[in-house]
Amino acid sequence: MDPQINLKPSSPAAAGAAIECKELTKKFGDFVAVDRISFHVNPGEIFGFLGANGAGKTTAMRMLCGLSYPSSGHATVAGFDVYRQQEKIKQHIGYMSQKFSLYDDLTPLENITFFGGIYGVADKVIKERGPALIRSLGLENEASKLVGALPLGWKQKLAFAVAMFHQPRIVFLDEPTGGVDPVTRRQFWDMIYEAAGTGVTIFVTTHYMDEAEYCNRITIMVDGKIEALDTPAHLKQRFACDNMDEVFYRLARTARRSDS
C-alpha cells in the first residue's frame, strides 16, 4: 500500500472544497473544547485528524457532522452550512462514531438494510448490494448472528461499510481502529483506500501515528487548537523527524489537557 497513491494537489480552498472551516469554536461553559480551528479538505482527500485524548478531535468532528452546534466561527460541509443546514449535510455524509453504535440485536444485513433504508437507498439496491457487501466483508457465516456476538474488529469493518453504504460524498471516521488488532487495522485501511479511490472524501481521527502516514494531509490538534497541518512528509521535514511519532511528541508534549 502506497500512502502517496491518492495524494491530490492540495489546491487552496476552492469552491469545491469538501469541508471548509474558519475559526470554528466550541465552548462548554468556560471550557474551550475547540479553539478557532481553520482548515479545508479537498474532495477525494484522506484527511487525518490527530491529537491526544481530550484534544478536541471528536468535538470538532461532531460539529462538522451536524451533531453539535458550534459556539462561533464558520464551517461548510459538502457546501452546506453547519449552523442551518445540518440535515442537508447529513444526506451527504457517512459517520462512524468512536463508540460502536450499530444495533447489537440486529444481524449485519439487518443493520445494513435499516441504515440504507433510512438514507433512502432504493429497495432494489439494498437487496443487491447488501448481501454482496456481507460477502465482501467475509461475514457470510455470521449472517444469521446478531451483531452483538461479533468480535470488535468485524464490528468496526461493518460499521464502516454501513457508513459507506449510501455512497456519501464525505465520510467521517472517529478513531475507527481503536482497540482493533494490527491485521484488521491494515484491512481497515485497505477499505479506506478503496473508498478514497472512488472519490469519497475521508475525514479520519486517530492517535495511531502509523495510520497518520497513510493520510494525504494531517492536522495535529493540541488543547483544542490546530498546531500543524500538512502532508506527513512535509511535517517530518519541518520538524526534522524520522517518523510521525516524533512529530507528534514534539507538538503534543506542550499539551495541558489530558483525558477529558
Binding site: 461532531r62 457532522c65 451536524g66 451533531l67 453539535s68 452546534y69 445540518q86 440535515e87 442537508k88 447529513k90 444526506q91 455524509i93 459517520y95 462514531s97 463508540k99 460502536f100 453504535s101 450499530l102 444495533y103 447489537d104 440485536d105 440486529l106 439487518e110 438494510t113 435499516f114 441504515f115 433504508g117 433510512i118 438514507y119 433512502g120 446478531l146
Partner: protein
Amino acid sequence: MRTLRFLLQKEFRQMFRDKTILVMMFLLPVIQLGILPLAMDLDVKNINVAIVDQDHSAYTQKLITKLGASGYFKIVTVAPAYKQALFSLENGKADIVLEIPPSFERHLIKEGNQSLNVTADAINGTKSGIGTAYLLAVIRDFNQDIRLMSNRQPVAPAIIDIASSAWFNPHQKFTWYIVPGVLVLLLTLVGGFLSSLNIVREKEIGTIEQINVTPIKKWQFILGKLIPFWVVGMIVLTIGLLVARLFYGIIPLGSILLLYLLAAVYLMALLGFGLLVSTISNNQLQSMFIAFFFIMIFVLMSGLFTAVDSMPVWARTIATFLPITHFMKAVRMIILKGSTFSDVLPILVFELLFAIGLNALAIRNYRKTQ
C-alpha cells in the same frame, strides 16, 4: 413513509427478539387482571366479633344467632367479661366487641329500651366503619323483630322503607367496577414504562448517535417509536378484555369498536408522555424515576380506587386534567353502561388534544443536534 417502514421493521425485529417483553406482554394482563381485582375487593367480610354476654337469655341467643347468620360476622369468642373481650381486640383476634349488659332481655321487655356497647378496632378505618354499620343494621333489624314478637302495641313510628336498586351493576359485583379499572391501570403501566425507557436506551447504548447523523426527520423517528408500543398496548387491551370475559364474565355492554377507538387515542397520549420523558432523560434510571413519579400520580388520582367526586377540590382539579381519569371513566361507561359515541365524544376530543400535544412536545424535545 418509506423511512417509517424501515423504522418499524427495525423496532418490531428488536421487540420480537426481546423475549422478556414478549412474555410480559402476555403474562401481565392475564396474571395481574386475574389476581388483582380479587385482592382489591372493598367489600368488608369476615368481621371478627367478640361478644360479651352478661345476660345469657333467649334474646341474646337470638341476637348472636342473627349476627352469625348475616354472613359478614365471625364470632370469635363469647367472653364473660368486657375486659377479656377487649383483650382479644387488643391482640388482633377481634375487630369489634359487642357488649350485652346483664338484664338485657328484662329491660327490653319491661322498659322497652336497652343500650348495647360496641367497641371497634379503628386501625383499619374502613373495616371498623363498615363493620360497625353492618352490626348496627343487624341490631336494628333485631329490634324490629322483637317489637313484632312482643305483645306490646307496636309504637309504629312511621318507617320509611328505602328500596334501592343498583343500575348498571345490578348485583353490585365489586369485580364489575374494579376489573375495567385494573385494565386501564395495566394499559397505562405497560405503555408508560415501555415508551419512557426506549429512546433513552438508545441514548445509553449510543445507537441514537448513528440515527442522529442520518437525514431522518424527527417526527419519523418519534412515530417509529410510537407505533410499535401502540400495537403492544392494543394487544394488552385485547388480552385484558378476554380475561375480563373469561374470568369475570364481564362483557362490554357498549360497542367494542368504540372502546378500541378510545383506547387507541388514549394510548397515543400516554405514549407521547412516555416518549417525552425518554427524550428528557439521560439514562434509563432517570427515565424510570420520572415515569414512576408521574404514573403513580396518574393511577392514584384517576379514580381507580377512590371516587374522583369525593376528593378535595385541589385533588379533583388535578384529576380533571389527567387523561387517565377521563379514560377510566369512559371505559367504565362503555363496559358497564353501554355508553355510545356521542356520550364519550367530549372525552375522545380531550384525549386527542393530549395525544397531539404530548407527541408534539416529544418531537420538539428530541434533538438531533446538541
